[in-house]
Amino acid sequence: MTALAAAVRRAARPFLDGWTVAAAAVAALVAVPLATIAYRAIDPADDTWSHLAATVLPVYVSNTLWLLLGVGAGTIVVGASTAWLVTMYRFPGRRVLSWALLLPLAVPSYVLAFVVTDQLEYAGPVQAALREAFGWTSARDYWFPEIRSLGGAAIVLSLVLYPYVYLLARAAFIEQCFCLFEASRTLGRGPARSFFAVALPMARPGVAVGAALALMETLNEFGTVDFFAVPTFTAGIFDVWLNMDSPAGASQLALALVVFTLALLAIERRARRRGRVYATTTRVRKLPEYPLSRAAGAAALAWCALPVLLGFALPAGVLAAYAIEFHEAALAREYFAFAGNSLRLAVAAAAVTTALGLVLAYGVRLSRRPGMRGMAEAATVGYAVPGAVLAVGLLYPLGAFDNAVDALCRALFGVSTGLLLSGTVAGLVLGYSARFLSLSYRTLDAGLERVTPSMDGAARTLGSGPGAALRRVHFPLVRPSLLVAALLVFVDTMKELPLTLLMRPFDYETLATFVYQLASDELLEECALGALTIVAAGILPVAVISRTITRSRPGHRSGPRPG
């Protein structure tokens, strides 16, 4: 019987093989740049590595490690503590804060870096006010912390990245059976000790996943570290490539960076698996929302509001003020042209990446080959790989492709095709797709979970062919996930900086590159409108995410009452 079934399945395979091939092609999109980097990095003809190792490499390594450490500690402390307070206690502003704490996610780190510097530098309003208040006349009269430093970068990055930890820690706190916390209380431990003994360890997988995501973003980070002059690996790739003109050296650095990334990825995946083991809860009870005393409530409010104020309200407010005051200068700077470029790029990237993600997600589901899931996992590594690394890895294959096509066309038709992918918008979109594929794949994969095999069976036995089943059953069920996937890719493309800087066509500006360049030249006022536009776009996915988490809890409106 099973042999027969296997035979039938094997006979049915050739039809499904199209999916396998397509999924493999999508996976190649990420595999090719990584392979290229590895290949170029071991190119014996180039001796940049020993030179790098002797000079800048130790600096890159130590800066990167310290930055990871700072951001890791910062995001975990802020993210986990705010998540716990907002989930478990009732205090003024809690309801608003529960979603407002996600807002800093909308602010690209380089934008916050520019704003913070603008406010805290010698000529900025904070130091001016201090001088005024204390009668100081010059920088020699007082000490003020240097914001453009490693520590400053860690703080800035923590302020915009802690929402990853907040989001996943909150989900973990909400999901864990509250009875465990109660059990701890009846066994003689107070609320604080119960938090550290039970609630936090239970949420550890979620916190670890959130921190790993935040650290991946930190590795990807270019704008802030460049502006703050903190030479990390990513900044080093730019430096070696553009200033030292050594692509092989850049590849070698990129390869070293990939090692960091894979370590983080391993941590993340392991934590997710652990999280599944821990998810043994059976009953969901309405969360208690302990009331807090007036003083404790005020302290909780202050602690939870601080990251929102610094990470969102401050940059949004400063940018809005500048945008209004200097809107003429901003518009004169071709704001609309750059905004148009950003918009077109983001729409194209969203469409392509969502389509590719769908192919991958379906490929995994339809062909039940054991290798497929692994291939999909490999294909989604792109999100962890820093944009600069992907750019370095993609330029060579794209150039080779262009040359091959060009030579072929010239030989056959006597026509030169010129650059098709390298240094073109098409190549840039391809780069975004490689980077953001996991966003769309994971979203769609989760969406497809809702389509159970028996639904397929039901549709088919009721007379729908495979195509009709796709259209009438799958598509309506998956449509919300498609929209979310497209939205996430759209916004991340709007914000993306390092990949865009390296892969954009010559003289082609997006809002992100424009803001980065002007703000680096201390012209924040004139690019404020552009920066504000990116922030505004970033609020969209925040709204979507906060809606999904409030819905994720079963019976969140009318929790089951204890019998």
């Binding site: 059976c177 465990l180 109660e182 059990a183 066994l187 204890p562």
Partner: protein, 364 residues
């Protein structure tokens, strides 16, 4: 000194009154079963006693000390009450091993606690489970660990919320017995919540029957079984045949024949409840025949019992249809063992007086 006292405790969830003026006292060493259907407020009582719900009305005392009283005092937090609680789903900490779970509530140093936890496990021959995580335990093992964890700090009051409900039938009996012997050794007040009347009979020194947040009856198991306070309580112990009627001249007419009623209920509307276990079916030819002649409609033999449905043979249409409010017209009997009865048999039915109860119909 009383172990655990509820005094006029009421509790609302929003607009729903879950507990309504409950008062009772449990003495040290005593095992009390709170018996009632789900939603009757019994679990809420446990949560109130443990301090997991804030008190709204009334007061609760443990060992003579008030731990929660409406209004006046701040109530004692759960960790300061000396209460052990076994949750329905056990609530074992999934990130801790068995021995760490048991050690969790023990005071004193790490090594000391660990040693005590291991001794506790060794006493039950469970040493080999010490290093395992909860997800690697069977249901029965999880239940045992949850119980040991709650008992380890030597609480004065042990609260158990449907502790056997998730276990398989065959395991339940064994675990119940073991649990009770452990609890008996601890000397704590034990309050156990269950919806299973048989379980309550088996385990309790006293049964507190609850319905819609109120105590219906508080008595020994024998008393609750032999003299249920109302129809609801009578029904907890298995199927009953119910008939409504009016008392005339000291008895109520039913399809089972006239049933004697107390004088106080004369000319009142009453419910007559006859346990399916209280019905005897005899051969018509037997000397003691008499009673009501019935015909057997169906027979289902379950091994321990035989479920039999009969209808009165010579009843008028009205008498047979006297079943009101959707009660089936046929009479249900539960006979011991594999009763040698077949469909279509004609037999004589007798209702045993000790299984026949008459309750006044409550107005409204």
């Amino acid at each position: 000194m009383p172990g655990l006292t509820f005094d006029g405790v009421s509790h609302r969830y929003g607009s729903v009154l879950a507990v309504d003026g409950v008062s009772f006292t449990a003495d040290p060493g005593e095992t009390i079963c709170l018996l009632g259907p789900s939603g009757c407020g019994k679990s809420t009582l446990l949560r109130l006693a443990a301090g997991l719900e804030g008190i709204q009305a009334g007061s609760i005392a443990i060992g003579g000390r008030t731990v929660a009283a409406a209004g006046a005092h701040p109530q004692a937090p759960p960790e300061a009450r000396g209460v052990g609680l076994v949750f329905q789903d056990y609530a074992l900490f999934p990130h801790l091993t068995v021995v760490e779970n048991i050690r969790y509530g023990l005071s004193g140093g790490r090594g000391e606690g660990e040693a005590r936890a291991r001794r506790i496990l060794a006493d039950l021959g469970m040493t080999d489970l010490a290093g395992r995580y909860p997800h690697a335990l069977s249901g029965g093992q999880q239940q045992r660990v949850a119980l040991l964890r709650a008992l380890a700090p030597k609480p004065r009051v042990m609260l158990l919320d449907e502790p056997f409900s998730t276990l398989d039938e065959h395991l339940r009996h064994e675990v119940r017995m073991e649990t009770m012997s452990l609890l008996a050794g601890s000397g704590a007040v034990t309050v156990l919540v269950t919806h299973d009347a048989e379980e309550a009979m088996l385990l309790a020194d006293r049964i507190v029957v609850m319905k819609e947040g109120r105590i219906v009856q508080d008595a020994s198991p024998d008393e609750v079984y032999a003299h249920p306070a109302d129809l609801f309580t009578a029904r907890l112990f298995g199927p009953v045949n119910r008939y409504e009627g009016t008392v005339r001249g000291g008895s109520v007419p039913t399809p089972l024949g006239p049933v004697a009623a107390p004088r106080a209920l004369e000319s009142k509307r009453v419910n007559v409840a006859v346990r399916a276990d209280g019905i005897e079916l005899r051969e018509l030819s037997s000397a003691r025949a008499g009673g009501v002649r019935v015909r057997v409609r169906s027979v289902r033999r379950l091994g321990v019992w035989t479920l039999v449905l009969v209808t009165p043979r010579n009843a008028t249409r009205e008498a047979a249809g006297a079943a009101q409010n959707g009660e089936p017209a046929s009479i249900q009997a539960r006979l011991p063992g594999m009763a040698p009865i077949a469909r279509g048999d004609e037999l004589a039915l007798h209702a045993r007086p000790e299984h026949t109860f008459v309750f006044p119909v409550r107005e409204g």
